[in-house]
Amino acid sequence: MTARQPGLAERAHPFTTGTIALALIALAIILPAPVGTLALYATTILIAAISGAGRGVRVGVMTVLPLWILLFVLQGILGDPPRVAAPWGGTLSAPGLAWTVSQGSRLATIITASAAFAVAFNAHRFLQAAIARRWPFGAAFLVVATLDAAERLGQQARWLREAQRARGVPVTGSLSRRARAIPALVFPLLLTALTEADDHALALETRGLMLPGTRTALDPPQDRIAERCIRWGALLTVVAAIVWRIVP
């Protein structure tokens, strides 16, 4: 097996990728449409591609494509007058088209930035960074433990589907048949979650996760000066954009 080289985004300090993603999302809301937001979408794609989170762009496009189509139908075709001629005949709504482009590029930017961040996110590095920075441990714990629980429960849901089918519960067929499968698939998930939370609470206590005081960061991710500069830069850009939009 050949190990994939981790990209820039994966090697960066988790706070850096987080700050950049948040800044892009903020700018997508702040910047004027359509020119500003379109340029921002291009920038977002560029950043994601360069930093090795290109998979985020693909995920972003896949997510945003149906949104664009629906926006175009709902606003562009069915939108308010005045109407303009469409290249293939018929008319389109002018304000609807403008809304489609501006809102579409906003959504695309936000989705792409989120997806790229998700691609590069590593729970272990985040936790270590949070501990090293003395963030409130409870908050960091909830984020990391939730991701872990989602994976565990996801597996259990897949297993449960098999187990109930093996007990004769059909999960395909008519609407009522599928609807009647819900309790068999959902109730065990809820009941085990509730009973097992008790036992897991014991583990949290005995393994020291509820202890106050400082914890040791085992291998905190490196935080280079350049990255701090990038984070401050991102923050200042957002502030500057706000000032520029507010000041007439």
């Binding site: 926006l71 429960l153 979650a193």
Partner: protein, 230 residues
């Protein structure tokens, strides 16, 4: 909380529901550092429960999607924890769920976090008024929650997204608009309609679960008994 015992040195440590108060612990052992005792007041059970409840929101959403049913059921964890553990738990589950769904599907849906908070409030109100005591009661509260949540999400969807939020709702909206309904009205009808169906089923499911809870869970979460009208 019962304090002391019949004889000197004969004591009793009692715990109220899921929060680890240590009323007698301090008196029993005065050498214990107070910081430790304060730390133990955090409820580990809530810390264990919140991650799985968020996971329930995400996972049940996926399960239902796989069944190709026209509902989401992605707030079951929020409703359940609000009923069992109260405001703080529900608020945590709702907020973290929305943050995590953002990570998976994009942060444009973050404004909908207020819907999660609204669901927590409705679920709490329902729980206090034995709202899960029977099928029809849960259905009623679910419809109420759906109307409230749907209206609020219509407002968000209209002003933030021009009626396009992806998924089944948008398809319904589009159909309504193409049938000549005004966009604002279409978004409202679409959102409220889907939300009423979704929340009604969610409340009915939670009600059925609460009425049939095992005793050991009922013992841990006394609010569940009230909610189920026991």
């Amino acid at each position: 909380m019962i304090e002391g015992g019949p004889e000197p040195g004969h004591h009793l440590v009692a715990i109220e529901n899921c929060h680890g108060h240590l009323a007698n612990g301090e008196r029993v052992n005065s050498t214990t550092p107070t910081s430790r005792i304060r730390a133990l007041n955090v409820s580990p059970r809530l810390f264990a429960l919140v991650p799985v409840a968020v996971a329930i929101n995400l996972v049940v959403g996926t399960v239902v999607k796989e069944l190709s049913l026209p509902i989401y059921l992605d707030t079951l964890g929020t409703i359940l924890v609000a009923v069992l553990a109260g405001m703080t738990g529900g608020w945590l589950v709702g907020t973290i769920s929305q943050l995590l769904m953002g990570l998976l599907t994009g942060y444009q849906y973050l404004p909908f976090v207020v819907i999660q908070w609204l669901i927590v409030l409705v679920a709490l109100a329902a729980a206090r008024r034995h709202g899960f005591a029977g099928l029809w009661r849960s259905l009623g509260w679910g419809v109420l929650c759906g109307v409230a949540g749907g209206s609020l999400s219509a407002v968000i969807s209209y002003f933030f997204f021009g009626g396009v939020t992806g998924g089944g709702v948008t398809v319904i909206n589009t159909l309504l608009v193409s049938a000549g309904v005004k966009l604002g009205a279409a978004v409202t009808i679409g959102s409220v309609g889907t939300d009423v169906l979704d929340k009604a089923i969610a409340f009915v499911l939670v009600g059925a679960l609460l009425r049939g809870l095992p005793r050991r869970i009922l013992g841990r979460y006394p609010r569940a008994a009230v909610a189920a009208g026991k």
